[in-house]
Amino acid sequence: MTETGPIRMLLAKVGLDGHDRGVKVVARTLRDAGMDVIYSGLHRTPEEVVTAAVQEDVDVLGVSLLSGTQLTVFPRIFALLGQYGAGDMIVVAGGVMPDEDVAAIKAMGVRAVLLQDTPPETIVTTLRRLVAERGAR
């Protein structure tokens, strides 16, 4: 919880990746943890995702990727967030990707990478911690 209400979260699927069972499970988990979860639907562009995140003013933008495009998607997302003046948004990643890519996107500013073997409660506690650390905005 933020001190003022439920955590708001956008769960996004970007590009040609057509598998969303995982992201739906995560959405349901976060709902049951008391969060407001907005799901983007499949096949979104980084522009669409960032516009939605800014309009919805979410605490956390979560991008689920199973397609291996993380090294091109995240630089674009951070550039767009900067253009909107939304640099304070917490960005996390989920899905499946190689270890070296995890290190690379963390270096770009992704605050947590929650891969396919992450227990649901770890996702919840990680998001709560990141929002609490950020403080009021």
Partner: protein, 325 residues
């Protein structure tokens, strides 16, 4: 990053900065004390936007209709704000806000702003901060602001007390002529839409609604506005033009006619009462947190009746009020 005062965000929002619009709505939703004076100042600068309420049962096609409508309104030059409401879980307080998925065609257009909102226990079809979000979008220069209510049952009619034009969406196959003459949500429409009218049973629903309205015409005095029934198919695009025409005509009625003036006063009256009600509910919750448990103990012990003890609790609230004035 440091906390930006709400007054400064309001100036940015008035210049059309989308991030400021989004952040102000979040603060309104959270009810942070700092934003309340800003919201009061914002309210005084609003009133230009045409507020369109869209309601109907869950699955009737509200979100899809909103998407089609917003696209068409963009083509005639309006900037369109959308506040889409979905229910919060009564158990966890969380929600899945899924209306946006139906509006993916709108995602890339900077002249469209979509905001999802959870009810957080509010009844009546809207969330507590919905109308504040409408004010903020109005300030930011959106010409038409669509409120999409949560999927309603038969009795959630607040949207008609908050919008200039109320559209009730009915899907085919959900009822007959008796359903159509029942009291409640069907009565509040300025415009009736029958969605999914590419389906063969849509004609029946169109006919039931039209007959219901004809019965009403016989009973009611003539007014400035005849409620149309419009069949719409998002699949084929049929009916959207007719709907936009009806909305434009109703906008003229809502903004210019005597009936429109009366409606505006009714909207203000509703807003006033609802805001006061929320204030009372907030304070009552604070007073009850402390005062209710001992009274509940006495009630459980059959020491006094519920009405007597409830009056005592209300007296606590009034005492609290006079102490804090």
């Amino acid at each position: 990053m440091s906390y930006i005062p709400s007054d400064i965000l309001a100036e940015r929002a008035a210049r059309g900065e989308l991030q400021a619009v989004g952040r102000l709505i979040s603060r309104a939703e959270a009810g942070v004390p700092e934003v309340r004076t800003t919201l009061a100042a914002i309210y005084r600068r609003t009133g230009a936007a045409h507020v369109i309420g869209i309601t109907g049962v869950a699955g009737s096609g509200k979100s899809t209709l909103v998407a089609g409508l917003a696209l068409r309104l963009r083509q005639v030059g309006d900037k369109v704000g959308i506040v889409a409401i979905d229910p919060s879980s009564p158990y966890s307080g969380g929600s899945i806000l899924g209306d946006r998925i139906r509006m993916s065609e709108l995602a890339a257009d900077p002249g469209i702003f979509i905001r999802s909102m959870a009810t957080r226990g509010a009844l009546g079809g809207m969330a507590r901060a919905t109308l504040e979000a409408v004010d903020i979008l109005d300030l930011a220069g959106f010409d038409a602001i669509i409120i999409e209510t949560v999927g309603v049952g038969q009795d959630e009619v607040e949207i008609a007390r908050a919008s200039h034009t109320t559209i009730v969406v009915s899907a085919p196959g959900l009822g007959d002529g008796i359903q159509a003459i029942k009291a409640g949500t069907l009565e509040i429409a300025d415009i009736h839409v029958v969605s999914k009218c590419d389906r063969s049973d849509a004609n029946r629903t169109l006919m039931d609604l039209k007959q219901m309205l004809m019965l009403g015409h016989a009973a009611a005095a003539s007014t400035d506005w005849q409620v149309p029934v419009i069949g719409v198919s998002a699949y084929s695009g049929e009916g959207i033009d007719a709907l936009v025409t009806a909305i434009t005509r109703h906008r003229a009625v809502a903004f210019r006619s005597a009936a429109g003036q009366t409606r505006r006063l009714a909207i203000a009256d509703f807003r006033l009462r609802k805001t006061a009600e929320n204030l009372l509910a907030e304070r009552f919750a604070a007073v009850a947190a402390e005062g209710a448990p001992p009274l509940a103990r006495r009630l459980a012990d059959r020491d006094a009746g519920p009405y007597t003890l409830a009056r005592e609790l209300v007296a606590n609230l009034l005492a609290w009020e006079s102490k804090h004035e």
